[in-house]
């Protein structure tokens, strides 16, 4: 059926027995679920039961590439992780760029599964069809960067790609990340803690295989055209990265500030964390992922002042959540906090949210330094923030509670519930949905909790639509459904979302790219595949006990924004319910948010999930 685009193999490693097997992946799974996120969701449905606890040996973790991962085209860098996530306690999908996905394909595999648990800390090394383990107690305690360096020092000089976890994962911090190569990450949901629960500190992969391509000449032509397009269409992305959203979202009145107590500050109080400040005062060079000509990563370093020496590549979400959300208008402090999160191996979005919560609790006198080893953590205090991040990773002071994430915090201290903005246990990204009602619906219905990617990034659509504006309710169900289905198939392709426009991977994609790579005309089916993935993921969540009551927004969203361009706006229960009713109806789900048999039949899902 496919003349290219797939290796057709899955590598399954049992960490308990140290055995590995190579399994065939049937073509029908690719045809119906494409790869990446879709293939991961299908695998999850088949192998991870509703009652599996995230940080036990029963849980498994899988890495999944798409048909374009590693293909000879620009920015074919993406791959996915799927596992039961400890932050929400439910299905987790997360994507990353970097080199690991392409190298996994060179090793000969579309997917890699880890199951069981090691007796002692190890690094797993995959080279073509061989698997080795480097057991060493001294893996424990290393930062993500130290672990990568130690691993690479023990391997022959080849083109290896790596995954590493940090001390936070070792200590079971439920929002710890997996770091890919030297700075990309599976950021959200706690996949790092799952890997560490199996005593796997790191993985390395390389190989000598070549991905089969149906029409190599056509690929060259597509690649050339895409690069030409990106040179102009993504020029501003290369120059300023995603950080330019700080100014944009603040001007729109939706920049989460001081733990969502505000959503805007005058420009002079925010411009310290603008992209222009990053570029002018801290920028060192652009960073590119595998085969990417955009190179949107902004490598930055602090050379002067109290944070001198700190270095990171801060993206918008990290800047927003470690900056204005925590009352910081200093890019040097944000770079330092971003670096600390990267070294410790923690999600910057959740970390920023929960440190901001601590800051607000201090501000309101609801906690004292006595509970936190004497450390006061107030809005705008960069040094205290760095120390608090360390406390979380080490489970010290208030970090003992914070490390358990939003759900764990609310269980331990129910009186703090009003100060955490989350959905299903996953804290909000850097867009206050009270200024864009569609973002509220996106967060409420995202398959992994509050997320602007899986849930759908509605900001552009809510400003460009001729049918509604950002504060309307009607039409948002249709917008969010379309964005989610679109994103679901893009996450299954293996390319970066930044470049997808150059290939036309929107709601009406052209056939040429996937035809050239796989020899199969996926294009007419891509949005249906996306819808199928969305329904499979919802079916997983329903199996795990999720229903309408969980598609909710936190109390703070029901309060009006106090100032700024979106002043006075809020999302009440009635408003959310109106959007949910439209969304569920268009999805073919019942009033409780459960996919009805008719939609499962139309999407030909029943045979896969019966």
């Amino acid at each position: 059926m496919f003349q290219g685009g797939y290796m057709g193999k899955l590598l399954r490693i049992n960490l308990t027995t140290r055995q590995h097997v190579i399994e065939d992946i049937v073509a029908k799974d690719f045809q119906y679920f494409l790869g990446g996120r879709g293939l991961g969701a299908l695998w999850y449905w088949r192998e991870i039961g509703a009652n599996v606890e995230p940080l036990t040996a029963e849980n498994k973790i899988g890495l999944f590439t798409g048909p374009l991962t590693g293909a000879p085209l620009v920015s074919t860098t993406k791959f996915q992780v799927a596992t039961k996530g400890p932050e929400t306690g439910h299905y987790l999908c997360s994507n990353s760029s970097g080199y690991f996905g392409p190298r996994l394909r060179q090793a000969g595999f579309d997917a890699l599964i880890l199951e069981g648990v090691c007796e002692q800390w190890t690094a797993v090394v995959v080279e073509n069809d061989t698997v080795q383990f480097i057991d060493d107690k001294s893996w424990q305690g290393l930062s993500t960067f130290e672990a990568r360096k130690k691993l690479l020092n023990q391997l022959p000089d080849q083109k290896w790609a790596t995954l590493c976890v940090g001390p936070a994962a070792e200590n079971g911090v439920v929002f710890s990340s997996i770091f890919v190569d030297d700075g990309r990450a599976f950021g959200r949901g706690g996949s790092g803690a799952v890997l560490a629960s199996k005593k796997v500190k790191a993985l390395a992969v390389r190989g000598d295989n070549t991905l089969p391509i149906a029409d190599a000449e056509k690929c060259k032509e597509i690649d050339k055209n895409a690069r030409k397009d990106l040179k102009t269409s993504r020029e501003k992305h290369r120059l300023l990265g995603t950080a330019q959203l700080v100014e944009i979202i603040n001007e729109l009145g939706c920049m989460p500030t001081l733990n969502f107590q505000h959503s805007w500050k005058p420009p002079e109080e925010v411009q310290g964390v603008y992209a222009q400040t990053l570029r002018k005062e801290y920028f060192e060079r652009n960073y590119a992922c595998f085969r990417c000509s955009v190179a949107c990563g902004q490598s930055a370093k602090v050379n002067l002042g109290e944070f001198a020496g700190a270095a990171s590549r801060p993206e918008y979400e990290s800047i927003g959540m470690l900056g204005p959300l925590c009352g910081l208008n200093r890019m040097d402090a944000v770079i330092a906090a971003d670096e600390v999160c990267n070294k410790l191996g923690m999600d910057t979005i959740t970390s920023g949210n929960l440190v901001a919560m601590v800051m607000e609790l201090f501000e309101k006198g609801m906690i004292s330094a006595d509970e936190n080893e004497g450390l006061k953590v107030h809005f705008g205090d960069g040094q205290a923030m760095l120390q608090m991040l360390q406390f979380i990773a080490e489970r010290r002071g208030l970090g003992k509670i914070i490390a358990n994430g939003a759900k764990g915090i609310i269980e331990a201290r129910p009186e703090w519930k009003a100060f955490i903005c989350h959905v299903k246990g996953l804290p909000f990204p850097a867009y206050d949905p009270r200024g864009f009602n569609g973002m509220g619906l996106a967060y409420a219905t995202s398959a992994r909790g509050a997320c602007h990617n899986v849930g759908g990034y509605t900001v552009s659509g809510e400003l460009l639509s001729d049918n509604y504006d950002r504060y309307a309710l009607k039409g948002k169900g249709e917008l969010v459904k379309s964005l989610q289905d679109n994103r679901a198939y893009v996450d299954s392709l293996g390319i970066c979302t930044v470049v997808r426009g150059a290939y036309g991977f929107g709601t009406s994609p052209p056939p040429d790219t996937l035809l050239a790579v796989t020899g199969y005309d996926f294009a007419p089916h891509l949005m249906i595949i996306g819808e199928r993935i969305s329904n499979l993921e919802r079916s997983i969540l329903v199996r795990e006990g999720i229903d309408r009551k969980d598609d909710d927004l936190p109390p703070r969203m029901k309060e009006p924004i106090p100032d700024g361009p979106a002043s006075g706006h809020f999302i009440s229960d009635e408003m959310l319910n109106e959007m949910l009713d439209e969304y569920y109806g268009l999805r073919g789900w019942d009033q409780n948010g459960k996919p009805m048999p008719k939609i499962l039949e139309r999407l030909e899902l029943k045979e896969f999930i019966s």
Partner: protein
């Protein structure tokens, strides 16, 4: 005459070399006339890579014949997401 401000956000500042401008336009100008002014500044309001917002709402979400008022504020920024 009506005076309106136009802010250029993020990468759009590279096109104008400025963070904002104020322009005076005929007081009987309408929303539909703003496209010409933006084009004269180097922007294509029809481009999917450009988002134009008038007083907090998308430019296309205003009635084309809505009269421009003194103090109206436009912001122009690149279509960008993620992070």
């Amino acid at each position: 005459m009506a005076t309106i401000s136009i802010k250029f956000l993020g990468g759009m500042q590279t096109i104008t070399g400025k963070t904002s401008v104020q322009i005076s336009i005929d007081s009987d100008s309408q929303v539909k006339d703003l496209s010409d002014h933006l084009q004269s500044l180097g922007f294509d309001p029809e481009s999917s890579d450009t988002i134009v917002v008038l007083n907090g709402r998308g430019l296309g979400q205003w009635a084309p014949d809505r009269r421009i008022q003194d103090g109206d504020e436009l912001i122009v920024f690149p279509s960008i997401s993620g992070g």
